[in-house]
């Protein structure tokens, strides 16, 4: 069995006739921070809950540090879900006590450390009175108290203001730097992801489109610009192309540089946008 922090082998998850995930195979390396991106409904949340063990895959298998995930929370994994569920009536201190009570392995000091970072969270405040940023901090503290080796974050940055967003990312990065935790986080905020992620996992319609080291991926893609009306001859794969009256722009994966075209390597945002655009036009074409 693969001993990587997270390894997925032809994982599929079907809900009735809907195929949320299909034939997903990928590996996350130790200590990596992977950005999980894709359009809405691509299967990001489903994938995260499968890795955590909240749901069972229809077929295929997932292993975390060499042990299979089967139908219940893997002890080495922490999952921060999108809704950040917390008991509203509890104080932060009581919430941490509940965390300790519900886990076999729990580090109160690790959780407290996280709560004290940045401005610090008032431990006697009720959870429902907390700001969105502080709430996320409590949820992350709860996730880290489990001493995870793999941290899964589902949209940890949504509904946070820019400052809280920046601070949340700093919390996550501090964790990675100190413990070497492997992180997989889904987000729509590409600029923020670019600052912290070294790996990328791009999902679309339940399938893995791109997976790997961001620098390698960017090096493998080129944006080519040429005059309108000229056919693009390349041995690479045209991911997406757009046309204006005067010029054609295309995102090309692999292959050599076609002559007569201007080429640059995309940045993360341009790359992901290219894939998202292609996904949308595929969907339109089908309708």
């Amino acid at each position: 069995m693969n001993a990587s922090p997270v390894h997925a082998e032809s994982v599929a998850k079907h809900f009735g006739r809907t195929r949320a995930l299909d034939d997903c195979t990928f590996t996350l390396p130790e200590g990596s921070v992977t950005g999980l991106v894709g359009p809405n409904g691509a299967g990001k949340t489903t994938l995260l809950s499968l890795i955590a063990g909240l749901a069972k895959p229809t077929s295929g298998s997932i292993s975390v540090h060499g042990t299979a995930v089967r139908g219940r929370m893997h002890p080495d994994v922490s999952l921060l879900t999108q809704r950040r569920p917390l008991y509203e009536q509890f104080t932060v201190r009581e919430m941490m006590r509940a965390g300790a009570a519900m886990n076999d392995r729990w580090s109160a000091s690790r959780a407290d450390e996280m709560l004290d970072l940045l401005a610090g969270v008032d431990k006697d405040a009720q959870v429902r009175t907390l700001s969105a940023g502080a709430r996320t901090q409590v949820a992350i503290a709860l996730a880290l108290g489990r001493l995870p080796k793999v941290l899964l974050l589902d949209e940890p940055l949504s509904d946070l203001d820019p400052l809280a967003r920046d601070e949340t990312l700093r919390l996550v990065m501090a964790e990675v730097a100190e413990r070497g935790t492997t992180v997989l986080l889904s987000s729509h905020l590409l600029t923020d992801l670019g600052d912290v992620c070294d790996h990328l996992l791009l999902l679309d319609e339940g399938r893995v489109q791109v997976s790997g080291d961001i620098d390698e991926i960017l090096g493998d893609h080129q944006i080519v610009v040429g005059a309108a009306g000229v056919d693009l001859e390349t041995d690479g794969v045209v991911v997406d192309s757009s046309h204006t009256a005067r010029q054609t722009t295309a995102l090309v994966r692999g292959g050599s540089v076609p002559s007569g075209w201007q080429t640059t390597h995309p940045d993360l945002e341009a790359l992901v946008m290219g894939y998202l655009r292609a996904s949308r036009s595929r969907r339109f074409a089908r309708q």
């Binding site: 569920p85 509940a98 009570a101 519900m102």
Partner: protein, 326 residues
């Protein structure tokens, strides 16, 4: 884990504790007031005899003041199980699913089964304790009124039956597990509350109506043909009446015999004359089928076991519903 559930349910427990203190104080005060009235009216001995043998203004005044109050206390004991099902059982899982906090528990290392079992038991225990204590308090008050209160109606009288023995606990278990199951199944607190109340009332009503059918009635005979309650003891429920002929067989149509004894002119016929006439026409003795008082415990246990069986089904259903939840 127990602490976590206790903390989650804390508002409910505070409500139960407050309710119990208020109810206990009210019942004990009322009971003391009632006992004082018994002494003041000099009718203490009537408690062990009956209204009939204790005719007098004092006993009647006493009943006018106290009977309905005691009755209300019994009704409270009957209503509380439904409230527990609706307000403690139904939201137990439905609210977690509604607010998404079940995911919080599912993403910790505690197993779903343990989470479920802890929630189920920790929430149930105080509720059952509440019902048991309330039942005992009301029972002591009912006993203090004795034959001047609802006990005069016998053990099958509906409020007396349903507010004593194993019944209140059985109803509570039924209502609570029903609420838990419906809540886990439909995941909406409001839906769960409505369904719990509806199903509880329907099932309780249906079984209460069938209650007297499960007891084998006994037949009491009397030579007194005209008194409809001849030979019936206090508290016995009469489920059938009729007449026997001289050979001891049931008379199929006693009204035919009676019709012959109706005088043509509107004159008063004495009881003795009427009895003699009926006897001449083949009505030898009268009988009544009554529910034996000593069978009440059996009926309690029988009904309770039906509710306990349903409760077990609901528990299994809840386990299934929670386990399939993503």
């Amino acid at each position: 884990m127990i602490w976590t559930v206790w903390r989650q349910q804390r508002p409910v427990f505070i409500t139960l504790a407050t309710g119990l203190v208020v109810a206990a104080a009210a019942i004990l005060l009322l009971r003391a007031g009632m006992v004082a009235d018994l002494h003041a009216g000099n009718i203490v001995d009537c408690v062990r005899r009956s209204m009939e043998s204790c005719r007098g203004e004092a006993a009647r005044d006493f009943q006018k003041t106290w009977y309905d109050l005691i009755h209300i206390a019994q009704v409270v004991v009957i209503v509380v199980p439904a409230l527990i099902g609706v307000f403690i059982g139904a939201p137990l899982f439905a609210r977690e699913f509604e607010q998404g906090t079940h995911v919080l528990a599912f993403t910790q290392s505690v197993s779903r089964t343990r989470w479920m079992a802890t929630k189920f038991l920790v929430a149930a225990f105080p509720a059952l304790l509440f019902v048991a204590v309330l039942q005992l308090l009301v029972r002591s008050w009912v006993n203090a009124a004795g034959e001047l209160g609802p006990l005069a109606g016998g053990p099958y009288y509906f409020t007396t039956f349903e507010a004593q023995g194993v019944s209140p606990i059985a109803y509570t278990l039924f209502a609570y597990t029903l609420g838990v199951f419906v809540g886990a199944l439909f995941k909406r607190t409001l839906v769960a509350i409505t369904l719990t109340l509806g199903v509880f009332v329907a099932v309780r009503g249906a079984l209460a109506l069938r209650r007297e059918d499960v007891v084998e009635p006994i037949r009491v005979l009397s030579n007194d043909l005209t008194d409809p309650y001849a030979a019936v003891e206090r508290g016995q429920v009469v489920v059938g009446t009729g007449f026997l002929d001289a050979k001891g067989a049931v008379v199929a149509d006693p009204s035919a015999a009676k019709t012959k004894c109706v005088p043509n002119a509107p004159i008063e016929v004495s009881v003795e004359d009427r009895t003699a006439c009926w006897q001449q026409n083949g009505l030898a003795r009268s009988f009544r089928d009554v529910l034996p008082i000593d069978q009440a415990t059996t009926v309690h246990l029988l009904e309770a076991s039906i509710f306990a069986g349903l409760a077990v089904l609901f528990v299994l259903g809840s386990v299934w519903a929670v386990r399939r939840q993503v």
